[in-house]
Amino acid sequence: MAAPDQGRVAAAGRLARAVPIPAGAGMARMLVERNYRSFRRTWVIIASGFFEPVFFLFAMGVGIGSLVGDVETEGRLVPYVVFVAPALLAASAMNGAVFDSTTNVFFKLKYAKLYDSVLATPLGPRDVALGEIAWALLRGLVYSAAFLAVAALAGAVTSPLALLAVPAATLIGWAFASIGMAATTYMRTWADFDYVQLAILPMFLFSATFFPLETYPAALQGVVQATPLFHGVAMVRDLMLGQVGPDLLVHVAYLVVLGLVGTAWTARRIERLLLR
C-alpha cells in the first residue's frame, strides 16, 4: 500500500479517537465513485429525475398559471409560474434526495449487502453515510441546474440571485437525504416505504408550494411553517425572486441542523446495524 494512504488512514484513526462520532477513514468519495460506476449503466433514471419537475412546471406553472393570473407573494404581484417554479425546484430536490436515500439505500443495505463488504475495507460507517448522502446531492445538483435552465427559458427566473438556488436546492437535498437515509435504517420491508410517502406527499402539496402561506387558515400556518420543505421552498423563492432578507438565515439554519443531525444519526445507525 502506498505511503500517503497510510498517512491518511493514520490521521483518520487519530480523528476517530478524538471525536465521538462513528469512525471513518475520510474516504467517502470512494463510495461516490462506486455509485457513479454503477449509475452509468442505469442512466435512464437520470431522465425521470429531470423530467418530473419540468412537466410540473409546464402543467402547473404555465398551464394552470394562465388561468390563475398573478399571485401576491411578499407584497409583490408576480405571474403564477414565477411563484411556483421555486417551489417545484425545492420539492424536486426533496423528492430526488428521499428517493435516492431510501429506496436505493434500502436495497443496498438489505439485499445487495453492499455495505458489509465496504466496511471490511478501511472505510467506516461515517464514510458510508457521507458517501451515500453526497451521492444523492450530486445527482440533485445536476437536476437542479437543469431545471433552473428550463425555468429560465419559461420566463420563471427574474433575478440573477436565482443562480444561488442551485446550492440552496443542494442544501434541501442534504437535509432530506440524511433524514431519509437514517429512517431507512429502521425499515424492515418495502411496505414500510408507504410511511415515507405519507410524510412526503402532504409536504409536497402543502408547504406553501402551490399557494401562498397567507391562503392557509391562521391555525394551520404555524404547522406549515414548521415543516422542512416550507423552509426549503421559502429559501429558494427568496433567491429566485431576488428578495433576500434575514429570514433566509433562519431557513438555512433549519436545514443545516437537519442535515447535521441526519448525517450523524445515519452513521450511528449503520454502525449499530452492521458492526455488531
Binding site: K113, D116, A120, T121, P122, L123, L275, R276
Partner: protein, 304 residues
C-alpha cells in the same frame, strides 16, 4: 500477527465466543475448525474489525481493533462466509472499486485487477456482470478482490463451502500459492480434509470455546489412535453390538449408522472380530482424521 486473550463475543444474552486464546504467527496457515454455530464467523468478524469484542484482548497486526480499525483493515483481505460481491458492477469493476476503497491509485488498481483476474482464471469474464457467474467463479472473484490491497493477512470464512470437489482443489491450489508468497492465511472450515490439507496449525472450536489446538497430525496423535475400524451391522441400534466388540479396541464410538473402533492396528482388530465369529455387513480400516479428534472431544460429528 493476531493475538487474542480471553476474547469474548456476546449478542444480547447469548455468548457466541466464550473466552478464546489464539496466537497466529507470520506466514502460517491457521484454521478454526468447528461445527455450525461454534463461533467461527463471530471470531473472524472480530479479527476483521467489523465486530467489536465484548471482552478480552485482541491485537491484529500489532494494533487494537477498537481504535485502529481502518489501519488494520488496510492490511487485511477478507473473504466472508457469504459472497458479498457488488452485483451492480462487472467482474473487473468489482476489483477496481474494491481497490479504490483502500485508497489505491486508479492505475495501480487496474494493473492489479489484470493480475488477479489471471490468478482467479476469470480473465475471459472480466467484462461480464457478476450475477450469472457460477458459485465457484464468484468465490474465486471474492478471493481475488480480497487480494487487491496485497494484504498481509487473508481471512477466509469457509472458503470452499458449496463448491464441487474440483473447484475446491483449484481454490486450495491458489491458497497454497499465496502462502508460498508469504501471506498469512486464517481460515474457518467444517471440512476436516480442508483443515488437514491447508492448515499448519488449527484450533477446534465448539460452543464458543477452544477444545483443542495443534497441528493436524499432532491433534490426531494426541486425541485419536493411528487407525480406525468402521463396522456396519444389519441393525437399527448399533449400540446393541457394543458387548460383542468389547476389549478389541482402545475406545469405541457409537454412531447411528456404524461403530468406530479406535486401535493402533485395524487389521489385528479385524481378525480378532473374525475369530469371535462376529459378522458385520461391512468392515473398513482407515487412518484417523480430525473428524475422529472432534468426535472424541465433543461426542458429536462435525458435518451434520
Amino acid at each position: 500477527m493476531i493475538r487474542a486473550r480471553g476474547l469474548v463475543k456476546a449478542f444480547d444474552d447469548f455468548t457466541a465466543v466464550d473466552g478464546i486464546d489464539v496466537e497466529v504467527r507470520p506466514g502460517e496457515a491457521f484454521g478454526f475448525l468447528g461445527p455450525n454455530g461454534a463461533g467461527k464467523s463471530s471470531t473472524m468478524r472480530m479479527i476483521g474489525c467489523v465486530s467489536p469484542p465484548t471482552a478480552g484482548e485482541l491485537t491484529v497486526l500489532g494494533m487494537d481493533p477498537r481504535t485502529d480499525g481502518p489501519r488494520i483493515r488496510a492490511g487485511l483481505g477478507v473473504v466472508p462466509q457469504r459472497d458479498s460481491l457488488d452485483e451492480e458492477l462487472t467482474v473487473e469493476e468489482n476489483i477496481w472499486v474494491y481497490g479504490r476503497y483502500f485508497g489505491l491509485p486508479r492505475r495501480l488498481v487496474r494493473e492489479r485487477a489484470a493480475e488477479l483476474l489471471e490468478f482467479a482464471q476469470l480473465t475471459d469474464r472480466a467484462r461480464s456482470v457478476v450475477e450469472p457467474l457460477s458459485g465457484g467463479m464468484k468465490r474465486r472473484l471474492t478471493i481475488a478482490r480480497a487480494l487487491v490491497n496485497s494484504p498481509r493477512i487473508l481471512l477466509l470464512d469457509e472458503p470452499t463451502t458449496g463448491l464441487d470437489p474440483q473447484a475446491r482443489h483449484v481454490l486450495w491450489d491458489r491458497l497454497f500459492r499465496l502462502k508460498r508468497e508469504g501471506v498469512t492465511l486464517v481460515l474457518t472450515t467444517h471440512y476436516m480434509d480442508e483443515a488437514e490439507q491447508l492448515c499448519d496449525r488449527l484450533v477446534v472450536m465448539d460452543h464458543g470455546r477452544i477444545v483443542a489446538e495443534g497441528s493436524p497430525s499432532a491433534l490426531i496423535a494426541q486425541h485419536s489412535t493411528r487407525e480406525v475400524l468402521e463396522l456396519r451391522f444389519d441393525t437399527a441400534d448399533h449400540a446393541a453390538h457394543l458387548g460383542g466388540v468389547e476389549g478389541v479396541a482402545d475406545r469405541v464410538e457409537v454412531l447411528p449408522d456404524r461403530l468406530l473402533l479406535y486401535t493402533p492396528d485395524g487389521e489385528a482388530a479385524q481378525s480378532e472380530l473374525h475369530r469371535r465369529g462376529l459378522e458385520p455387513l461391512s468392515a473398513l480400516v482407515r487412518r484417523s482424521t480430525l473428524e475422529d479428534v472432534f468426535l472424541h472431544l465433543t461426542g458429536r460429528t462435525l458435518v451434520d
